[in-house]
């Protein structure tokens, strides 16, 4: 189909070719050569387009993509520009980076998810980096992808969930029987670098590279006011929460047992309980977890469902 060939040629001219002959006959002979599917009339039409006008589109597209990537994965983008040529201080331009990312990882749909995942794949497979730098960039990308998804995913938070204030009226055994659900907006990941310290430095406009090597388990979540939080959690808790699949749950008792194993230095039971309660309330406030009562047991003449 001739139209498909014309649109495809325009794509090539805008995205792939940065230097075009300044004169129309020069462009005509180039296009005849590189676009064999075009008719002579179509070649002539395209050759009439001045390169500086095509360049308005190239500039706008690559700047737009760079700005979008920067908005969604700001630390990753910044680190990528700094590590571009293996040097820490020379930052590559938006145009340069976005052009190369687009060439190797074209944006295949209109969804921003595909653009940001393309940047991650570019870092993982296409960038000429030492493995240490690649690992750092991937840690940043994965951390920021967690924040990206936590911010935009639809929430599946249940009705009837408890607030931290509700806990005060419960007995200890009722508390331990509560069910913990992990909302769809919570992301639990582990990193080999201190991504949270990097984020703090980045936000304070300080140097955040190179990242400090340390194993870090991070829960990223979206709270009720839509703020996104990231907090470190102990490794056993990380493993436990990671084992909770969609629709399943664990009990507060299971969570408590795992958490208490991480604070052997606290021997006093009351202190242990207070510490755990503080941890649980933080998880609830940041919406890493939702807590709900177990269903009431149904016996003859009594139903847990409200009566009409």
């Amino acid at each position: 189909m001739a139209l498909a060939a014309v649109l495809s040629a325009l794509r090539t001219l805008i995205l792939d070719l940065s230097e075009l002959p300044a004169d129309e006959p020069g462009r005509r002979s180039l296009y005849t050569h590189i676009f064999p599917d075009l008719s002579a009339a179509e070649v002539e039409d395209l050759a009439k387009i001045p390169p500086h006008r095509l360049n308005i589109y190239s500039t706008s597209i690559f700047t737009g993509e760079g700005k979008l990537l920067e908005a969604k994965l700001p630390m990753t983008w910044e680190a990528l520009r700094k590590y571009w040529d293996g040097s820490f201080h020379e930052q590559a331009t938006y145009q340069q980076v976005a052009r190369r990312v687009h060439a190797l990882r074209p944006w295949r749909s209109s969804a921003t998810e595909d653009l940001v995942e393309g940047l991650r794949a570019f870092i993982a497979e296409d960038m000429p980096l030492s493995s240490s730098k690649r690992d750092q960039l991937l840690a940043l990308a994965d951390f920021e992808l967690d924040r990206f998804y936590a911010a935009r995913l639809s929430s599946n938070i249940l009705n009837g969930q408890l607030s931290p204030d509700d806990l005060t009226s419960l007995t200890v055994s009722d508390l331990l029987a509560l069910r913990c659900y992990v909302p769809s907006t919570t992301r639990i990941s582990h990193f080999e670098f201190d991504v949270l310290a990097a984020r703090a430095a980045f936000r304070a406009e300080k140097d955040f590279l190179p990242l400090m090597p340390v194993r870090q388990c991070v829960a990223t979540s979206r709270a009720d006011d839509n703020s996104v939080f990231s907090m470190t959690i102990p490794t056993p808790t990380f493993e436990l929460l990671n084992s909770v699949t969609a629709g399943s749950y664990l009990t507060v008792e299971e969570l408590a047992a795992t958490y208490l194993s991480t604070i052997p230095e606290v021997r006093d039971e009351a202190q242990q309980f207070q510490k755990f309660l503080g941890f649980l309330i933080t998880l609830m406030k940041d919406r890493v977890l939702c807590l709900a009562l177990p269903p009431l047991s149904v016996s003859a003449g009594y139903s847990s469902q409200p009566q009409p």
Binding site: L3, V6, L15, A41, L46, S110, D114, L153, S154, T185
Partner: protein, 281 residues
């Protein structure tokens, strides 16, 4: 039939993230908002919840940037089904997209690239618009884009192309006044003549925007400044031909405070009042 049979809403504004909090807390007297569908339909979280709150108090009209109506890649039916559900959920009476292509060879160009003005390109758009109308089940409008290039005008002019598409696909026109004005500067034609050659009974909505001139004197359609005086004048020249419509101010970059955006919509309303009261007198 005027205004493509749609209710003229007067002047409104493009809804942008930067204004969510002020709009929700202060409820400024905008008549209506146009949203970029793709800025909301793929989201949960803050963005969607803000829109839900804003919709409780304001009329919302849809506008898309990702349909790629002129592309030769297959139409994205999954996108259209999601869009339909989104428009239904928010009770959005009509929507629009651009007469151009944004995807080709399964690559997103993330920009509005003009089409060749050929019968083949027109037929391709017409067939796709019919599918879109069927899927969305509500009035659909196409917007004239800013174009820095002419891909081909050997078969027909831009207005002939637009007329052919709109008539044969039976869809509406979102007349972007600024785009028509800027194109007249880029390509050297009379903007009023251009607009008068369009099927004006199909104009169901309009856009107004401003741009910042670069130091070298060149300009691009950047939507980052107030509507300039020459576009206000041009808008007033067009109004007698279109009649009352729904007009928004598009301000996408260097976004001003909400009260400044409101002032701009009030200027648009005043321009319409001036033209239509003079006409009635």
């Amino acid at each position: 039939m005027k205004n493509f049979g749609l209710t003229p809403l007067g002047a409104g504004a493009g809804l942008r993230h930067a204004h969510f909090d002020d709009i929700i807390s202060q409820r400024p007297p905008f008549r209506w908002f146009e949203i970029i569908n793709e800025d909301f339909m793929n989201f949960g979280g803050y963005v969607l919840e803000s829109l839900r709150e804003i919709r409780r108090h304001y009329q919302i009209i849809g506008h898309g940037v990702c349909l790629a109506i002129g592309s030769t890649d297959p139409l994205d039916l999954t996108y259209l089904k999601r869009l339909r559900k989104f428009l239904d959920d928010f009770d959005i009476p009509w929507t629009s997209d651009h007469l151009c292509f944004t995807m080709v060879d399964h690559t997103n160009l993330n920009d509005l690239i003009p089409l060749p003005f050929t019968s083949e390109a027109a037929t391709n758009v017409i067939e796709r618009v019919k599918i879109v109308q069927q899927e969305l089940a509500r009035p659909f409008l196409l917007e004239n884009v800013t174009r820095y290039i002419t891909v081909s005008d050997r078969e027909m002019s831009e207005t002939e192309f637009i007329n052919t598409v709109l008539e044969k696909a039976n869809c509406g026109l979102l007349l972007d006044v600024t785009n028509a004005y800027l194109n007249s500067k880029f390509h050297g034609f009379d903007p009023l003549e251009f607009v008068r050659s369009l099927p004006l009974e199909r104009v169901g909505q309009m856009h107004l925007a401003g741009w910042e001139r670069a130091p070298d004197g060149s300009f691009i359609d950047s939507h980052d400044a107030p509507v300039p005086p020459e576009v206000w004048d041009f808008f007033k020249q067009i109004l007698p031909y279109t009649g009352p419509s729904s007009v928004i101010i598009e301000w996408d970059a260097q976004v001003p405070p909400v009260h400044r955006l409101l002032e701009e919509t009030l200027t648009a309303d005043a321009a319409m009042a001036e033209v239509f009261s003079a006409k009635a007198a």
